[in-house]
Amino acid sequence: MTLLHIEGLGINFGGLKAVDNVSFAAAAGQVTSVIGPNGAGKTTLFNMISGVYTPGSGRVALDGDNVTGIHPSQLARRGLSRTFQNLQIFQDMSVLDNALAGFHLSERGSVWGDMLSLPAARRRARDARDGAMKLLKRVRLDDLASEVAGNLSYGQLKRLEIARALGVGPRVLLLDEPAAGCNAVETEEIDTLIAELAASGIAVLLVEHDMKLVMRISHHVVVLDHGQMIAEGDPESVSQNPEVIKAYLGTEAVDNVAG
């Protein structure tokens, strides 16, 4: 079932067409990867889908509803969540509080009830805490729960950001280079985690430079170059597409492959 529809999405920065006329769809329970050389517009594309940038043209539809250019906080309500290549963590808060923040929308209670610490408020806070701890366990950060987030390593912060994004209870999850800066063991953990997330029915949208990881876990691959979509398909066919090889390795390599 396709959950996320991207139609003719584009944006200009000054005269530069950073992303131009990109269309694809992402299905629930599948991993859709967006790949391309540096500067191809992958992160810009993610920023438009997640409401951080307002697209210059085109349309984003989530479960049939047009959500083009709506605010990230509204998208979170509709079940779209993301992580960032350059991390957006509450640095001054504890690891647990960062994960707890993901539950902001599911926690509902009156200001007065909270201030007076009524039983219902305490119960709700405990539930959110349990949920956050479960997510931390899932990304293997549970033993660091009380640490201040700013003290964590880059790879750990990447996982923390995924945990927080999961707290929102997303139907669509955008991961921007989750394995960047991670060692081989951490990469494999993230690999497993993403596969699990997709298997649980989430539509995972992935930007990643680690081609081995992409080829291993993706169901569908979209290739961008200079803001244009140059190929799309299953990992196997994309990796043999001459346009893609050209974008990554230059024309001579294609000639060599062809010859």
């Binding site: 906080s73 979170a76 960032f84 808060m93 993901g102 201030m115 927080r164």
Partner: protein, 290 residues
């Protein structure tokens, strides 16, 4: 000994007013890292609106309520008209906008109200209460009580409620806050409303003692800022302790040195804090991640 006690009482009274101003600073600072120098004008508006509403025949409690609500609305307008359009500007630019707003509010009040000094009747009479050889006015107890109640309410708000935590999250990382579904614009509006309301409340409580005119805001904003810096910007506990300490310093200086030097105390405190411990008494040590 009696005179010391008397100085302490008057110091606590003035300090409670500073604490209320500092608490107002705390909220907006927590939501946006901005020090709102129009905070003193909120106090002035609280006093002035109450005075004029009361003179127009509205009963005092109702006039006070009206002043708090109107000032909160002015706070929201300040955010919508001056702060929100500058979103994305550096914090320093926004601070300068708040200084401009404070000059504007002062000028407008001078035109709308007048340039006279005004006072309000005390809430519970003017008979001084004798405690151990010194006296304290009933109105002082109102001011000190008001500061304590606002402090406790804010403390609970920031540590226990979802909305309070959303304010802190917005200050810490606005984009991350949006990602988890926090409407950061509504949070900013709420912070200005709350800050302005607390400022107005300070004005209502203090006017029977300190009197009010269109230009009392500048000094109050500076004193409140000194108090917030002393306690640690952003921490309600710091605002309360900083305010009370500053009030006590002033009263003791006026009592034992000379009331001429009283005004200098706040500025000496700002300088000392900036030199010796920029994070204040209760402020978090700020660390920049590289």
């Amino acid at each position: 000994m009696d005179s010391l006690l008397q100085f302490l009482f008057s110091g606590l009274t003035v300090g409670a007013v500073y604490a209320l101003v500092a608490l107002g600073f705390t909220i907006i600072y927590n939501a946006s890292d901005v020090v709102n120098f129009a905070q003193g004008e909120f106090v002035m508006l609280g006093g002035m609106i109450t005075v004029f509403a009361h003179e127009a025949g509205i009963p005092l409690p109702l006039a006070a309520l009206l002043a708090v609500v109107l000032t909160a609305a002015i706070g929201v307008a300040l955010n919508k008209l001056a702060i929100e359009p500058a979103r994305g500007a550096p914090v320093v630019s926004i601070i300068i906008i708040t200084i401009g707003a404070s000059i504007f509010i002062r000028g407008a009040s001078q035109l709308i109200f007048d340039k006279q000094l005004h006072r309000l009747p005390s809430f519970s009479g003017d008979a001084p209460i004798r405690i151990g050889g010194a006296t304290i006015l009933p109105q002082s107890l109102w001011v000190i009580g008001g500061a304590l109640i606002v402090f406790v309410a804010l403390w609970l708000f920031f540590t226990r409620t979802l909305t309070g935590k959303a304010v802190l999250a917005t200050a810490n990382n606005r984009l991350a806050a949006q990602l988890v579904g926090i409407n950061t614009r509504a949070i900013m509006t709420l912070s200005f409303a709350l800050s302005a309301a607390i400022g107005a409340l300070a004005g209502v409580l203090a006017t029977p003692i300190t009197l009010v005119s269109y230009d009392v805001g500048v000094a109050l904003a500076l004193k409140g800022f000194a108090a917030a810096m002393l306690g640690g910007m952003g921490n309600p506990k710091g605002a309360l302790v900083g305010g009370l300490l500053l009030g006590l310093f002033e009263a003791l200086t006026a009592g034992y040195l000379s009331s001429q030097y009283k005004e200098a105390v706040a500025f000496i405190v700002i300088l000392a804090v900036l030199f010796a411990m920029p994070q204040g008494l209760f402020g978090a040590k700020s660390t920049e991640r590289v």
